[in-house]
């Protein structure tokens, strides 16, 4: 049966309305984890119940960033590292639109790292989904800010000489109100976390560890896609609600997963409303008068 004929005769895929199916087949390699995350993103969008005409997807550059081109929503495939500031402008201009940023680890946290920390600090009301495949896949497998110390890449032939970021710890330290980490093995939890992060007001961050057999796996002992998923299965430990600084990804022992942060804090718009359009008291707002008796150091 030809592909065209198959399309005519087979029942519609449940995600058909959310997919730009005319753009398939996609560009991702066999065994890549990004498609799994795309499935979770679409499931979360359906589950969230938001008006799909009012959801936008913004991505940067890289394998994961191509996801924006396959989702049938307003979707913006922007420049390398700049998905978050683009999304910031879009969200502030049109607050009624739910904005998802979906990109890779190199895009969001190397070239885009500065924007990531400031958007979290400002508590911009966007959901950031990072597919972490531990390397730059699209350019053929170079080391990135997530590459584990010692891992082999095309720019670290004898092992990565750098320590990676703990993205969840970074997001939490910068003020994200929702922080979770899963792997592509934990599809249901990924979907739930994306849904929860979308429903939350403020900067939500969901990290999804994903296999990259073509660029990363084959150069390291982690192997092909199935081997990688088995590795996740063996090494994953779910520790919800712990401080993400205590949740490292130590591939030699345990990969700590979980929902680490789920809190509330005024968003950029809330604070802007108060500071720029409302009544703000003088800064610093010192409550009780400081007297010599209660001064620090006395």
């Amino acid at each position: 049966m030809t592909t065209k004929k198959a399309r005519e005769t087979l029942p519609q895929h449940p995600m058909e309305t959310l997919l730009r199916s005319e753009r398939l087949p996609h560009i991702w390699c066999s065994g890549c984890g990004i498609g799994t995350v795309l499935g979770s993103v679409m499931a979360a969008i359906q589950k969230s119940g938001y008006d799909q005409d009012k959801i936008a997807v913004v991505s940067g550059i890289g394998c994961t960033a191509r996801m924006a081109g396959y989702i049938r929503l307003d979707s913006f495939h922007t420049t390398h590292g700049r998905a978050i500031p683009f999304a910031t402008g879009l969200k502030l201009a049109r607050p009624e639109i739910k904005v998802l940023v979906i990109s890779g680890d190199g895009d969001l946290l190397a070239i885009g790292g500065n924007h990531f920390i400031h958007a979290a600090r400002r508590n911009i009301d966007i959901t950031v989904i990072c597919v972490n495949n531990l390397n730059y896949g699209m350019t053929g497998g170079q080391l990135g800010p997530s590459t584990p110390f010692g891992a082999k890449t095309t720019t670290s032939n004898s092992g990565c000489p750098e320590e990676p970021f703990n993205f969840c710890y970074l997001a939490s330290a910068c003020g994200a109100v929702y922080v979770a980490r899963w792997t592509t093995l934990h599809i249901r939890r990924v979907t739930n976390s994306i849904t929860e992060a979308m429903q939350k007001r403020g900067f939500g961050f969901v990290e999804v560890l994903a296999p990259c057999p073509t660029s990363f796996g084959r150069r390291n002992k982690i192997g092909n896609a199935l081997d990688t998923l088995k590795f996740y299965h063996e090494r994953s430990v779910i520790r919800n609600d712990i401080d993400p600084k205590d949740a490292p990804m130590d591939f030699s022992s345990h990969i700590v997963l979980g929902k680490f942060v789920d809190t509330e804090r005024p968003t950029f718009i809330d604070n802007y409303q108060q500071a720029c359009r409302g009544q703000m008291s003088d800064w610093p707002d010192i409550g009780s008068k400081v007297t010599p008796g209660n001064q620090a150091g006395q």
Binding site: D74, P85, F86, A93, N114, F268
Partner: protein, 387 residues
């Protein structure tokens, strides 16, 4: 100065503030920026004025983010701008290219200071003229306007927004430190007298709409995010659907249209102010603050009985090729004063095509070109054998 977007009246104001007021009068309601001398006053005034008008001022972490944010805001359907100077302008280049490729209306005001690098942060320069034209990678057309007074900072900012909305392109206001910091009389007209252009909306329903299918003027109608069209926007080479297509034919079609939509509309985009041109035997071509010096020099030359004329470039990109080509055939010489080592003069030379000598009056930056220097150049040119 109550809660009003258009502050109709007569003021004594600096150029940076006038730019800000022009933007607000144009309907700009989003500003993302980063402080940099000598453009900071635009951001400062925006931060005060925008919240009360229901708009957003956000100070981003750098100029890269500022440029990305205004593109995002523009796709949200809000007129957006940023302002900067040389170092920040350099940082914006990649996303200006993204704005060009995705055809995103927005305005960038570059209040030029002297470079290269940190250069003279507080002093005037005109060294970013070629960067405005060619600074982002790849081939494209751009629109850049050059104000030479505080009034023009206001007027040209409105024009910049109108052109950006009409042609779906980032428009650059190439101001300079003196224009930005100089205080002059400015008249802000009544709101009803300000003509505004809004981006063309799609006539087709969501299923039939092709985001990059142009109308007869080469410009495609623009659906905003959230309008129900479910657009896909990418900086990759894309077809009329907006979908990436990696081949030479699509590249040719896309780039050709990016060029044609400006080139085929150049007669409406290009504006110059021509003074004493009809009988001129020497013509000064100038822009920005140097056009003020040039105007004075031309007047003084006329007072001495020298038939000098002036072409003040209001639109610098696209360059007024036809006018320069035409004038070059009937004058003894063309003179171009500019505060750089010779940038726009290359365009003048190209268009003159050897029909007359082209003389550069160059200043490397830090102060304006004195009218007397230009006057001397005019007088020297008179000695050139006439036509």
């Amino acid at each position: 100065m109550a809660n009003k977007a258009v502050l109709t009246g007569t003021y004594f104001m600096n150029g940076d503030y006038a730019c800000c007021e022009g933007a607000l009068a144009s309907g700009c309601r989003f500003f993302a920026g980063y402080p940099i001398t000598p453009a900071t006053e635009i951001a400062e005034r925006m931060s005060r004025r925008l919240p009360e008008l229901g708009g957003i001022y956000i100070q981003m972490e750098d100029e890269i983010a500022s440029m990305a944010a205004i593109l995002g805001a523009s796709w949200g359907g809000v007129k957006a701008m940023t302002s900067t100077s040389g170092p920040g302008f350099s940082l914006m280049m990649e996303n200006i290219g993204f704005g060009i490729c995705t055809e995103t209306p927005c305005v960038i005001c570059n209040v030029q200071r002297a470079g290269p690098s940190t250069g003279l942060p507080t002093l005037v320069g005109q060294g970013d003229m070629m960067q405005a034209r060619w600074g982002s990678h790849g081939h494209y057309e751009i629109i850049a306007l050059c104000p030479s007074s505080v009034q023009e900072m206001f007027d040209f900012t409105i024009r910049a927004f109108n052109l950006s909305e009409q042609y779906r392109i980032p428009v650059i206001i190439m101001a300079d430190e003196v224009i930005g910091h100089m205080n002059e009389r400015i008249v802000i007209p009544p709101e009803a007298e300000i003509e505004l252009v809004e981006r063309r909306k799609p006539a087709a329903p969501p299923g039939d709409y092709l985001p990059y299918h142009p109308d007869a003027d080469w410009v495609a109608p623009m659906a905003n995010c959230g309008d129900g069209y479910r657009i896909h926007i990418t900086g990759l080479t894309h077809d009329e659907r907006g979908y990436p297509v990696m081949d030479a034919d699509t590249q040719a079609q896309m780039v050709n249209r990016l060029i044609q939509k400006i080139q085929s509309n150049r007669d409406t985009i290009i504006r110059t102010e021509n003074i004493y041109l009809d009988d001129a035997e020497v013509v000064v071509v100038a822009y920005g603050i140097s056009a003020r010096s040039a105007k004075q020099a031309v007047r003084e030359a006329r007072a001495c009985g020298v038939r000098a004329g002036l072409i003040k470039l209001e639109t610098v990109w696209p360059f007024p090729e036809k006018l320069i080509r035409d004038v070059a055939t009937r004058v003894r010489a063309l003179i171009m004063p500019e505060i750089n080592a010779g940038q726009m003069v290359l365009e003048v030379e190209r268009c003159a095509g050897g029909a007359c000598p082209v003389k550069l009056v160059s200043h490397f930056g830090g102060s304006i070109i004195h009218p007397r220097t230009i006057l001397d150049a005019i007088k020297d040119s008179i000695k050139i054998k006439g036509k």
